[in-house]
Amino acid sequence: MEGATAVGHLLRRAGFGATPGDLDEYRSLGYRKSVQKLLDEIDRPTPADPDGFDPYEPGAIQQLWLDRMRSGQAMLAEKLALFWHGHFANSNAKVQDAQLMWSQYRLFRSHGAGRFRQLVEKVSRDVAMIRFLDGNSNRKGIANENYGRELQELFTLGIGNYTEKDIREIARAFTGFGCRHHDFVYSPEFHDDGEKTVHGQTGEFDGDDVIRIITSLPACHRFIAGKLLRFFSHSNPTDGEIADLAKVLEKTGGDIRSTLFVLFHSPAFLSGAHHRVLIKSPVEFVVSARRATGAAGIPPWCHGALERMGQILFRPPSVKGWTSGTGWLSAAGVVERFKAARRFAQEAAPETADSILDTAFDGSVPQALAQTLAEASGRDRIALALASPEFQLA
C-alpha cells in the first residue's frame, strides 16, 4: 500500500477513519509524518471532563468517550484505550460504579502507550479491577485466585504459559492489594509475606515483584505482540511476525509506543493483503460513519443501536472482552448497521454526498460497488456507502 490508500488504512487502524476535513491534512503530511502525528498526539493531556458531566451515569461516560473518539483529537490514544479496555475487560455490570469505570478509562488513556509493566502495575491498583476480580477477598490464608489467574491467562501470558501453582503463589503475592470506597489501599496486615515461587524464581514477593517477573517473560512479549497485531493489523499473524514484534517489546522494556511505531511501519501492516481485512466493531463502525459524514458528536440514539449491535462501552460481555471479526455479524448486528447507515446519511452534512466516496474508500471505489454508488445520489449515496461491505472493513 502507498499514497492515499496507505494513509486511509492508517487512519482506520490507528484511529477511527477520516473526516472529509482532515483527509487532506493527513495526505499532505504523507504516511511517515501521519504516523508521527498520531503518536505525538498521545502526549496531549487527557481533556478535562466537561462542565455538567456526571461520571456516575453509565450513559454519560459512554457518550463522552464516543465523542472523544469522534473528535479525532488524539485518535490513536483513544483507539489504544479501546484496545486496553477490551484487554483488561472489566464490566460495570459487576463494578456497579460508573465513576470507577471512568477512572479506569483515564488510566488507559494516559498510560496506554507507556511501558506495559507500568500499565499492569497501575491496573493492579485500579479500583474497578480490584472490585471486578475480587481483590478485597484475597487475604493472607484465604487467597482468592481470580486476579492471579486472569493476570496470567488474559492479561500477560496467555493460556498454557503458567501452572496452577503459579496462580496460587501469585494470589498470595497480591494479598493486601485492596480498595476502600474509591481508593486503592494496601493493607500489610492482610499480606502474606512468606516465600513464594513464581515462574521459577523464589522470594518474599509482593504484587509488584510478580509483575516484574511475568512481564519480562518471553511469553508475555509474544502474547502482547500477538494481541496488538490482531487488533491493529490482521487477525492471523504468523509466528514470525509475532516473534519480530515481541523482540521490539523485549528490547524497549515493553514500550507500547515504540512497538506501535514499528508495527505501523512493518511490511505486514502495509501489505496489500492486509488492506480492509478487519471487520469493524460496532463502536468503530459508528464512530467512523459519523466521522466520514462530517457530523459532530455521537447522537444519543446510537446508544441503543450499539446495544443491539452487541457492544456497550464499559460493559464487555465477559472478562475475555468482546468478540471480533465475523462474531459481530449476527442478524441483529447487521440489521442495526444498515438502519444506522440510513440515519447517519440523514444527519450528514449535505456536502458529504460529494466527499463520501473519498473518505469512505480512500478515493478509489471498489469495482464491485462502482455502479451501485454511481447510480445513487445525495443521501441515498451516503447511506449506501456507509452500509457497503467495504465500509464495514477497517
Binding site: 455490570a93 472478562v319 459481530w328 448486528g333 464491485a368 449506501l384 461491505p389 467495504e390 464495514q392 472493513l393
Partner: protein, 387 residues
Amino acid sequence: MILERREFLKRGLALGSVLALPRFAWAQGARKEPGARTLILLHLNGGNDGLNTVIPHRDRNYRVLRPGLGIDDGRIRKINDQIGLHPALQGFEQLWKQDKLAIINGVGYPNPNYSHFRATEIYYTAEPDKTPDLGWLGRALDARKSNKPLRAMAVAKEKPLSLVSGSPGVVTFTDFKQFRLPDGVDDTAAMYESFKELSGERRELAVRTLEALKVARKIANLSPSGRGMYGRLGNDLRKVVALLRSDLDLEVIQLTFGGFDTHANQGGAHNGLLAQVGNNLRGFQAELDRLGLADRVATFVFSEFGRRATENLSGGTDHGSAYPAFLIGGGVKPGLHGAYPSLEDLDRGNFRYTTDFRSVYAGLLRDFLKIEPKGIVGDHKPMELFA
C-alpha cells in the same frame, strides 16, 4: 433428608435403561434432525424462595423456619404426603398431573455465592471456581459445529453470559420489529452479492451478512402468538412460541423473569410472581401441545440461588443457596428428582445442596441437546431427566 420412593424406583429403572442403550450416541455424528429440539431456559431473576415454592409440608421445621411466611397447610397444593406446591402454582399442579413436570430438588454447588451477579455468572457458565469467559450454552453450541447463521436467541437487551461464545449465531432481541429492514436494503444487499465474487475477508463478510439478512427477514415477519399467556413473562413466551413455529430451528432460547429478590413483605409479591410463572408456563405448554411441538421442546426453570431458610424480620427472606428447579415438557421424566434438602442440618442458615447444577446441565446436554457434556461441565454425572 426425605427420600422419595418414587424417585428411588425411577433411578433404578433409569440405570437399567441407560446400560441397555448404545453408549455415546451423540458421538455418532451430527444429530439426524438438525434443530429438531429446542431447550428453553427461564431464569427467575433475583433468587426464588424455593422453600415456599416446593413446600415440605410434613416437616415440622417448616413452621419453625417460617412462622410468618409459612403457607397455611390447607392452602398448599399437595402433590404427595411430603411435598406440596405454593397455592399460586395451580399451573404447575396441572402440569404435574399431566406428567409434564419434573421437580429437581436441592439444586446448588459447593461453597455457594450469595451475590446476584456472581451467582448468576456461576449458573450461566458452570464455572464456580474462576472468572468465566464463555457461557455454558455458548461452549455447548461451539462444541457442536454448525454453519447455521442463527442457533440461539435470548429475549433480552444484553446478551446473557450463558450464551456468550465466539460465534455470531446468538442473537438477543426484545421485539421482532427491531429486525425490520430499512428502505433501500435491496440495493445494499446487491453490493454484498457482488462482494461474494471476491475472495478472503470480503467474501466471508458478504456471505455472513447475506445469511444474517435472510434470518432477519424471517424474524421481522414473526409476531407473538398463542393463548393463555399474559403479562411480561407471557409476552416473552408468546415470542418464543412464534420462534418455535418458524423454521428458524433454534437450539436454545433464554428468557428472564425478574422480581424474585424478596427481602421484605414477600408474601403477596411472591404469590403474584409464582402465579405468573405457573399460569404462563401452563399456557405455553398447552400451546406447544396444540402445535404438536411438546415433545421437541423442554423448558428449564432456574434461579441464581434460593433464599435463606429462616425468614427475616421484614417479612421477607435473604439470599440463600440450594433451591428446587423445574423441567417442563412432553419428553421429560416427570416427578421428583434429587432429595429435598434437610430443614434441620443447615449451612449457616442455608440449605445444603443435594443436586449439583452441573449434573442437571449434563443431563440436559446429553439427553436433550445431544451434546457430549464432559467438555462443557466436566465429570459431573448427567442426571436422568428425560423419559
